[in-house]
């Protein structure tokens, strides 16, 4: 509830800021910043999709029966968690071409952020799957469901409820982390504000708007996360 109120307040403040900026001389830097905001949104959405896919793949693979698959997952998780996101972005954009793989800035940014967060999400997915009671798998065996059907129809739907809070937090972290994509020459909202600030020297206004924007994104994700959690957990609560 408090979060929702804060979101409304923040949104209002942000709109006031925008209108203030539009009707004053500050409007000179607004278009550039909005273009940056669009880039931030694009990178966020695309890398969030990759993040969720990788979280599931690696989270499931880490407990897989095949040793090779398990080691691949562990390697992926350790490497991407052990090195910095910034290092990974650089590597994708500046070193990969040495291997003959040239990525566009957008692709490098999305890949870097998505793969990095997938490594963190994998642990959340795995933990959530382990939290599903063993009896559920035993019932699946007794009903002769295949391993695949048990995973897809029984375990994952129940694990999703458990993983939503953790994944919501990571998604917010992911949006914040997209601020690094200027390392691969993308002009996102953060870099746009740096550029505009270097032109116009209006640090306080420019950065207030930027902060508000990120804050609104975060509140939006938090709201969506709790709505999802409500929806998924409606029938899972014990008793009535």
């Amino acid at each position: 509830m408090a979060g929702r109120i804060i979101a409304v307040v923040a949104l209002t403040a942000f709109l006031c800021g925008i209108s203030f900026a539009t009707f004053s001389e500050l409007r000179i830097f607004l278009p550039a910043m909005l273009r940056g905001a669009v880039v931030t949104l694009q990178v966020s959405i695309l890398s969030a999709v990759l993040f969720i896919v990788m979280s599931f793949l690696a989270g499931i693979a880490k407990d897989s029966g095949t040793r090779l698959v398990r080691w691949l997952a562990i390697g992926y998780i350790e490497v991407f968690r052990g090195t910095s996101l910034l290092v990974q972005l650089f590597w994708l954009y500046f070193v990969l071409p040495e291997f003959g793989i040239v990525l566009s800035p957008m692709m490098a940014g999305v890949l870097g952020v998505g793969l990095n967060f997938g490594a963190y999400g994998a642990e959340i997915v795995r933990g959530a799957m382990l939290a599903v009671p063993r009896g559920q798998q035993e019932a699946s065996v007794a009903l002769n469901l295949s391993d695949r059907a048990c995973l897809i129809r029984i375990v994952i739907p129940q694990a999703v409820v458990v993983m939503i809070p953790g994944m919501t937090n990571l998604t917010i972290e992911l949006i914040k982390a997209t601020a690094l994509v200027s390392a691969v020459t993308l002009v996102d909202i953060t870099y746009a504000s740096v550029q505009q600030n270097q032109l116009h020297y209006r640090t306080l206004e420019i950065f207030t708007i930027t902060v508000m924007l990120y804050y609104c994104f975060a509140q939006f994700i938090r709201f969506g996360g709790s709505a999802l959690e409500d929806r998924f957990s409606r029938h899972l609560r014990r008793g009535h």
Binding site: T83, S84, T203, Y214
Partner: protein
């Protein structure tokens, strides 16, 4: 791909080694500041004054919802405008410390909450002074959850220091960027930087785990 070992040993490793000093300095300084900052924030947050605790809670919320990089830029640009000239390394350390102190505050709070209420009451019943209660009863019990969490933040801070390269602080990432643009070769420098981070964080994660089991065992005795 061609990897040049002579270039690696003659140029990359010496320059990264120098820069590693800056990385370590920035990590340690930010961490120590964050430890203290977190304590202050936690005390303010749990303050009896409703206004203070509300303001601090919202401040923490705002800091956490914003990218650290934005905060680094913000301080970097803002401080000179208000007449405070600090080297970028210092303002960067302040930004990292501030960001992480909001996280540390949460760790402290959770750690203190992990001590059962009965322990406070028992200490009160024994008529221990506040200092003794904390020193002998509360802190020893809240350390096992707090210390590993702080250790993980130390590792996280270490991995955040590359952000300082955005404001031209000469840490490892900045050094490898410079090498890249001077020699038009990124492969060696960026890869070595990556390996450096990987090794350091794997080793320190292992250390944190050791400390964790040590603390757990010491409280059970």
């Amino acid at each position: 791909m061609d990897w040049r070992w002579d270039f690696t040993f003659d140029v990359v490793i010496p320059r990264l080694w120098e820069a590693a000093g800056v990385t370590v300095y920035a990590t340690v300084a930010s961490f120590l500041l964050a430890l203290v900052g977190g304590l202050i924030l936690m005390l303010l947050k749990t303050s009896k004054n409703r206004m203070v605790s509300f303001a601090v809670t919202e401040f923490i919320e705002l800091i956490r919802a914003t990218p650290l990089l934005v905060q680094i830029f913000f301080l970097f640009f803002l401080l000179p405008e208000v007449g405070i000239t600090l080297p970028p390394l210092t303002s960067g350390i302040i930004a990292i410390a501030l960001y992480n102190s909001t996280l540390c505050a949460e760790v402290y709070r959770a750690g203190l909450q992990a001590v059962p209420r009965g322990q406070w009451e028992a200490a009160m019943a024994l008529n221990l002074s506040t200092y003794r209660t904390f020193r002998r009863i509360i802190i020893p019990q809240s350390l096992p959850p707090i210390v590993p969490a702080l250790g993980n933040y130390l590792i996280a801070i270490f991995k955040e220091t590359p952000l300082l390269s955005f404001v031209a602080v000469g840490e490892i990432m900045h050094a490898s960027k410079l090498i890249g643009s001077e020699y038009y070769r990124f492969t060696e420098a960026v890869t070595i930087a990556g390996v450096f981070f990987l090794v350091m964080s794997l080793v320190s994660a292992q250390l944190v785990r050791l400390v964790e089991t040590y603390l757990q065992r010491s409280i059970q005795r």
